[in-house]
Structures are given as structure tokens and as C-alpha cells.
């Protein structure tokens, strides 16, 4: 499986993260999104006329929607991430996959504007981002009341992976995560999973590694 990837793209990171969590080895083909705008160049436009990344290629299959890529990786290698199949749970997953596209637009748009100088109405993007975070906070709280630590059940699913990156990187776009304690706990639960990988802007949880014994000093401080 080949991923056309930009290391700073949260949408590409969704796929890299799902691959790591499900044990799939991806062939990474780096795309010079910034400053080179390679995603709009002839080679990549031929593969995906929408001009977006990520693009996932597996033989004849070419996927250009990150939600579909998450579903595909889970179906191939880790079906538990698709949920139990119960109708309510399946519906919740679908709902959150759709919701994640709003996050790409608002939190992602704010981030592109604040960090990479892309055009946009920053006030509206941030306001919409805050509204989305409040919905997420409220829903995660209600899930907690039902005994569930994640968006669709008590186990993580592709719904969580779809929403996590843009939420975790909201501060990049000037949207603080301080007011959302339930989101903080959910984010932490994801970052603590076995085989979790970070992306730039999401720090490693150093507390998961005990205090190492200091190396004996070679020189005088």
C-alpha cells in the first residue's frame, strides 16, 4: 500500500496513525505540499483530479478520501476498529466520520491560515472550530455517562482516528483546547494506545516512560 503523504498534513497523519495502530506497513511517497504545491502538479492531479492529499494506492484501488482509507485499513488488518457492527454503533461511527470533515474545514482551515499563510476568514474558521469542539466535548461527556471512553463505544474505532488529529492540532490554528477537559482525557487515551505514533505538533507522552537512570556524566557541568 502506497501513501502519497505530507508529514505536516493531519489528514495524511490519520492514515499513518491507523496503519501504525493496525500493524500495516505503508510505502510512503512524500509530496512537496508546501512550499512546492506538488499536490497540484501534473503527476498527482492525474492520480487525483481533486488535487488533495492523502492518496492511498493499493494495486488497482486508489482512494482519495481519508475516511475511506481508515475503513480500508481497518477492514484489511484490524476489523475491531470498525466497531461491533451493532446498528447504533455503526451509525455513530458514520456520524463522526462525517463530522471529521467539518473539522478539516474549520480547525484545519484555521491551522493552514495561521501557520502556512493560506487564505481564509480566520474569525469564522475559529468560531466554527470552537462550535465543533463544544459538540465533541458534549458528546464525549454523554459517552462517558454510557460507560464509553471513545466516540462510538468503549473501544476506539476509526471514528476516533478520523477526529483526533485536527482536534489535537487545534492550537496550531489559534484555537485553545484548555476549555475541554473531556476532550483532553479522550486525546490522552488515544495517545496512550500501543503503537500510537505522533506527528509534529503532538508531543510524545514522556510520562509513559519511567524516569530513566541518568547517564554518568563524561564532562564536568
Amino acid at each position: 500500500m502506497k501513501l502519497y503523504d505530507y508529514v505536516l498534513s493531519p489528514s495524511c497523519y490519520k492514515v499513518r496513525l491507523m496503519a501504525a495502530l493496525s500493524g500495516v506497513k505503508l510505502e510512503i511517497r512524500p509530496v512537496d505540499f508546501h512550499p512546492g504545491a506538488e499536490h497540484r502538479g501534473p503527476e498527482l492531479m492525474a492520480l487525483n483530479p481533486e488535487g488533495s492529499i492523502p492518496i492511498l494506492e493499493d494495486g488497482d484501488l486508489i482512494l482519495t478520501e481519508s475516511s475511506a482509507m481508515l475503513g480500508y485499513l481497518a477492514a484489511r488488518a484490524a476489523p475491531a476498529w470498525l466497531g461491533s457492527g451493532a446498528p447504533e454503533e455503526t451509525a455513530r461511527i458514520q456520524q463522526w466520520l462525517s463530522f471529521s470533515h467539518r473539522l478539516t474545514a474549520n480547525l484545519g482551515g484555521a491551522r493552514l491560515h495561521e501557520m502556512l499563510l493560506r487564505p481564509g476568514d480566520i474569525g469564522a474558521l475559529q468560531a466554527n472550530g470552537i462550535a465543533a469542539l463544544r459538540e465533541l466535548e458534549a458528546s464525549l461527556f454523554e459517552q462517558k455517562m454510557r460507560g464509553n471512553r471513545f466516540l462510538a463505544s468503549d473501544l476506539p474505532t476509526i471514528a476516533d482516528i478520523a477526529c483526533f488529529p485536527y482536534v489535537a492540532l487545534a492550537p496550531d490554528g489559534g484555537v485553545s483546547l484548555d476549555p475541554y477537559p473531556t476532550i483532553r482525557l479522550w486525546s490522552r487515551a488515544l495517545r496512550s494506545l500501543d503503537n500510537f505514533i505522533e506527528m509534529p505538533g503532538i508531543h510524545r507522552l514522556h510520562e509513559l516512560k519511567p524516569e530513566p537512570r541518568p547517564m554518568p556524566g563524561r564532562g564536568v557541568r
Partner: protein
């Protein structure tokens, strides 16, 4: 509504939102803090600024009974003393390297912080348990108007139709915002708690609409 004097207890967070071994940012009238819970469960409230290069300590990580700054790993005890500077592993950091700490107490599932060392204990709300915290872009006055009730020292009780009564503790923040801790009666079921959460969200929406229309003098 609750006093914003610095010598009284201010409810800054809910216990349920700060598990063992974690740190979170919180705001107090005397400035921002890094609120954290050590591995043994003890709480500490450190000034949210590492004295090395000014990085927010609330972004740091807890190992054992100490909080470390995410920037260079400088490590602080619960009393605020710098214990370790990873760039100089054999150095015992001088006592002058420390962060200011505040008094912190946990009562009734709520974490209270004070700037000084108050004689009394934080209030307890008999029969109520914390539900969740939310932040409103509205002042206490707008909140009172939305609820149709005057806020007292211990917050106020409000009931939306079809939802259980909720007790709200509003704490003024900067920039006209209000942190609201929502409590429900201990006997509420899970579905009642969900209804209570939605009621709190409705109240917030109403208060923000009032605030946006020009606020309340």
C-alpha cells in the same frame, strides 16, 4: 456568585477531570496554574510558567511525585522545588530555582485553589455531585438573567423543563468568560445526567445570546 478574592477557595476543576499522573491548565484570580496529580494521587497547583525559559508547565508531564517541563525536562516537586535539570544530570539545582505554588484542596469531587492559606475548608454541597465543567463566553450577569435567578455565593440552582435540577458554580474568568461547574443530585441516573448536561448547554446558549446582544450592565 463566588468571590474572586485571592484569599478564598476558588473551584478551578473537577476531580474527575484530573486522573493520577496528569497535568492540566487552570485559571485563578492570581494567575494561571498548572494543576497536577502525582502518582500517589496528591494534588499540586504550580504557577504555569517554568522559570528556565518561560514555557507553560501545564504542557508538562508527571513522573512519580514530580512535574517536568516539556521544553527541557526541568523537574519540580509538589512544593515547587526544582529537583533535576536533565542537561546537567550531576547537578543538584540551587534552591533558588523554584516555582510558586498555591494551596489546593479537594472536596466533594471539586478541586479548590487559594492564593494564601485560608483557615476554613472549601464549601461542600450536600447531596450534589459534580457533572462536568464548561466555559461560557458570557458574564455571570448574563448567566443569571438566562437562568432567571440571582446568583448567590454558592452559585445557583436551575431547572430546565424535563431535566433534573442542576446546581451551577460560575467562576469569572478573563475576557468576559465564565467557567461553570455543573453539579447534579447524587441520585441522578445516567440518562438524567445526560439530560442535565444538555440543559446546561441550553443555558449557556441562552446566556451567550444575551451577552452577544449587548450584555447586562
Amino acid at each position: 456568585m463566588l468571590s474572586d478574592k485571592t484569599d478564598t477557595w476558588v473551584p478551578v476543576a473537577l476531580s474527575q477531570d484530573l486522573p493520577t499522573g496528569q497535568a492540566m491548565p487552570a485559571r485563578t484570580p492570581a494567575g494561571p496554574i498548572a494543576l497536577w496529580r502525582s502518582q500517589s494521587g496528591r494534588l499540586a497547583a504550580s504557577a504555569d510558567r517554568c522559570p528556565h525559559r518561560g514555557m507553560r508547565l501545564s504542557h508538562g508531564f508527571v513522573r512519580g511525585e514530580a512535574l517536568s517541563c516539556i521544553y527541557h525536562g526541568w523537574t519540580y516537586s509538589q512544593a515547587g522545588q526544582c529537583l533535576r535539570i536533565p542537561a546537567h544530570p550531576s547537578l543538584t539545582p540551587p534552591e533558588t530555582i523554584r516555582v510558586a505554588t498555591r494551596s489546593v484542596k479537594e472536596a466533594g469531587g471539586i478541586i479548590w485553589v487559594a492564593d494564601g492559606a485560608p483557615d476554613d475548608n472549601p464549601p461542600l454541597f450536600e447531596g450534589y455531585v459534580p457533572l462536568r465543567s464548561l466555559t461560557a463566553r458570557a458574564g455571570c450577569s448574563a448567566l443569571s438573567v438566562a437562568a432567571g435567578t440571582k446568583a448567590a455565593v454558592e452559585g445557583f440552582v436551575w431547572q430546565a423543563p424535563g431535566a433534573p435540577a442542576i446546581r451551577l458554580l460560575p467562576i469569572p474568568q478573563e475576557a468576559g468568560e465564565t467557567l461553570i461547574h455543573v453539579l447534579v443530585t447524587a441520585d441522578c441516573s445516567a440518562s438524567e445526567r445526560i439530560a442535565a448536561s444538555r440543559a446546561a448547554e441550553s443555558l449557556r446558549r441562552m446566556a451567550e445570546r444575551i451577552e452577544a446582544k449587548g450584555g447586562v450592565s
